[in-house]
Amino acid sequence: MTTSGAAIEAVDLVKTFGDFTAVDGVSFSVPKGTVFSMLGPNGAGKTTTVRMMTTLSRPTSGTARVAGLDVVRDADAVRRRMGLTAQSATVDELLTGRENLRLVGDLYGLDRRTVRRVADELLERFSLTDAATKVVKEYSGGMRRRLDLAASLVATPPVLFLDEPTTGLDPRSRVELWGVLRDLVREGTTLFLTTQYLDEADQLADRIVVVDHGRVIADGTPLELKDRSGAASLVVAVSRPAEVERAAEIVRGEVGEIHLDRDARRITAPAEGVGALTRIAARLDEAGIDLDDIGLQRPSLDDVFLTLTGHRAESEAPGATSDASAEEALR
């Protein structure tokens, strides 16, 4: 059943905590050198899946392989070949950035000279050289996340697991981290990342699985998933409020059914290809109606999520801040 070339593979993974089933038969296969994203709301089972894949938690049933090695039987060998950036910060607050990386290097058993070199290289690569001798407690959230990621890379693992790597980061730090991750992939690393941010999966992933309540409810490329939630729609934004009704009449005349949002001055209609778009644009122009915008819009992954699960990605478990805490409470 091993797909040749798969860096990460899971078959029917199940994890239960008492009566609660956190992960309910999840399977996937990730080819070497690609980015795989597990997308889902809080409590969907993402963290539990990552913990099983990274040997921190034993699957109740099912099998998982990382770099061709079984995560239960060959746990130690798996640990030598993968890096993990967990959701909660896993660096030591009372050590400096450099001490943290050297500690990890020592624990991996790299020789001492290599430990020093690798630590300094990683600090440089993640722009932490200036903060190398500062205690982590004084780091910003973004710096901590980068150090955490750096710590996962000390032994240059071919497979890297990231559990919600950008949760809690400001937009700029997020985009920067995405850049780092893209570099890693370019260099041949296989990435497995969980996220509840749809745009993050859209930006980074070659393949996405959408999970909810411990089950995979959809998988495919970002494009395939968007297509699945329906065709693109035609969106017309009218400039002047007074002309909205008239514009709506014209669009309705062309395509039949429309959705009108008077406050936003927006008309949305099922798109029937580019032909309809040019025809409608011409008719509105003839009628002398000014438009802010007209175009075809693909559904966002947000729409995909809504279509698939019947609820918004972020709407669940308002009190819980993470998968981990939701599941922690149930243990």
Binding site: A86, V91, D106, Y108, G109, T114, E121, D183, L184, E187
Partner: protein, 286 residues
Amino acid sequence: MTAPTTTTAAGRPFHAEHPSAAGTSPVRQISALVRRNLTHIKRQPEMLTDVTIQPVMFVLLFAFVFGGSIVVPGVDYKEWLLPGIMAQTMTFSAFIVAIGLNTDLGKGIVDRFRSLPIGRSSVVVARSVSSLIHSMIGIVVMSVTGLFVGWGIHHGVLRGLAGYGLLLLFGFAMIWVGILFGSALRSVEAVQGVMFTTVFPITFLSNAFARTDVMPDWLRFLAEWNPISSLVQALRELWGNDGIPLPADSALPLQHPVLTTVIWSVGLSAVLAPLAVRSFVNRTRD
């Protein structure tokens, strides 16, 4: 974060530059982790108050506040008290292990350690070693304090060292208590609360601060069978801080305090170690 791209821009493939992890010896793992734990003490020296200011305060309180009304025949109370406080300090190494371990367990750092190819026991062994070092710092501070208030070792170097050796052996047994409490309880506050209400009174229910031969019979029985009393009696005899000989009707453990301390330490370790290990393994399984 502008630099990350420069490494790749320079055309050096990241993977080729680094060696892969070869696996490591337990000694290397443990020494790296001990160094980490000791760095914590260096960064937060106030962590040492439990083995420095606190026992010194106890010496001063008992020697000068209560001491006047406690009479131990044949010896100055301050001299008699010091081995008691040292034994108490060593008993509290259970606290140090429990709090250190529990603090780590409550943080993501344990996940980091567990995701690395290291022995599961390395984290616990390193915590034990650094806690014993922590406690030994306290013993050194107490010895120096003792010299100032009139305590001393009167039976030579060998018996003096034997006393310190017994302290260390007893500390080793206390570590298992610490691992058990530290793994089983869910928060540092719980550890502090539970241990303060159990271990702390047990150190007082002994011969550490007051004579047992004047206690009511039932209390005397408990106090004299308390492992801490054996340790204290052994230290007093080895170091010559015991004043008049032990009353003939003392309980058996106090008649052979060195042997009993060894038996207690080994026995407690034998019983508690499997429980402590099981508790730690359960705590870190998922």
